[in-house]
Point group: C2
Chain length 212, copies 2
């Protein structure tokens, strides 16, 4: 099963490539810059050059599933936030639907269900994610939306809490997030579900099999 | 001030044309079928032929403001709901932004803030509206989102309740809704606001000047 990973050169995207390979998938790393190809191919990924602000149709064409792990990052302006986190995601969802992709796993964020309650500097990002998530839920394509708490670069523990609503103060290593994204590709109990994750005390497979 | 009215041939859209003329605006009725032109022009509207499932760019080009009063209606299938209520609205918002439209007033619906709590047959409609509303809030164009309760064909009373959250069991005549849509074009207190309306005991101008 070929899994296109958008945002493959980002921190979580790179980890998702590794987890995908570990779990027996063939990742296709979607990257903007051909210079990034060598390293990701060395990890075992195929690569495809495409830009969320350009045409993604060809990249999606090869994929059975898509993980959206792209993000404009906190150092870019409002325009990029809307262009990548919202409109880029919508574009990828449209392309996935057109090419009969079997599943989309969306890396979202805790707080996306209520952007208006977020600190001012987070509002536009969370609104952009909210639009994309809602668009995905409406796209009539199988999906899972994963909303982690604050991301850390700690090593993954493999132990999480997954539920419709977790402690918003909780955090989680990117490595665990990446593993959850990949695990959702084939776990039926996550189909068409939106849930939050933070570090916890249950194994990832157990936690996502019984989202509360 | 020229106001493009999308959905001009619908019940609320027709009333919005009348209210726009009463309040001194020049309505441009966006219609799909040239046969509808005569009657709307007789009311005093300009008309422009455009389809929310096609190209709306030319229609928007002439407008200073837009009222989105279109809807797929309850007799059409899920595809049309997404195509008109969601993607049609998104397309019109994009076009409005491109052509520097000064204001968009969106006819939304009560319940759009929580589609998951709606009856099954309403969910897709409310989700489509939710995507469009969220997209509009994020589009960096001045907007007002008006969410009426159940619509009736009764004569307008001119008396409403307007607030962030009203009694969800309340109803309101389409005529009053149309008057609110038009009044929002120039009432500063509605700028970038989302609010619900039902019939009530305050005049429309008073109610929308002090949304609670």
């Amino acid at each position: 099963m070929k899994v296109l990973i958008a945002g493959a050169n980002g921190s979580t995207g790179r980890l998702a490539i590794e987890k995908a390979i570990e779990q027996g998938y063939q990742p296709i790393a979607m990257i903007r810059d051909p210079k990034q190809a060598d390293e990701l191919e060395h990890k075992g990924a195929q690569t495809v050059i495409a830009d969320l602000e350009g045409d993604v149709s060809e990249a999606v064409q090869q994929a059975d599933a898509v993980i959206f792990a792209a993000g404009s990052g906190s150092s870019t302006g409002d325009d990029k936030t809307i262009a990548i986190d919202q409109d880029g995601a919508i574009k990828l969802i449209d392309a996935a639907k057109k090419h009969n992709v079997k599943k989309i796993v969306m890396l979202s964020s805790i707080g996306t269900d209520a952007p208006e309650r977020a600190p001012e500097e987070m509002k536009l990002y969370l609104r952009s994610k909210a639009v994309a998530d809602e668009y995905l839920r409406n796209a009539e394509i199988p999906y899972t939306i994963v909303r982690p708490g604050a991301l850390s670069d700690d090593e993954g523990s493999g132990k999480i809490a997954a539920s419709k609503s977790v402690n918003p103060e909780g955090s989680i290593p990117r490595e665990d997030v990446a593993e959850v994204l990949v695990a959702c590709l084939s776990e039926p109990s996550t189909q068409n579900q939106t849930f939050e994750i933070i570090s916890g005390d249950r194994s990832i497979s157990e936690a996502i099999q019984s989202i509360m």
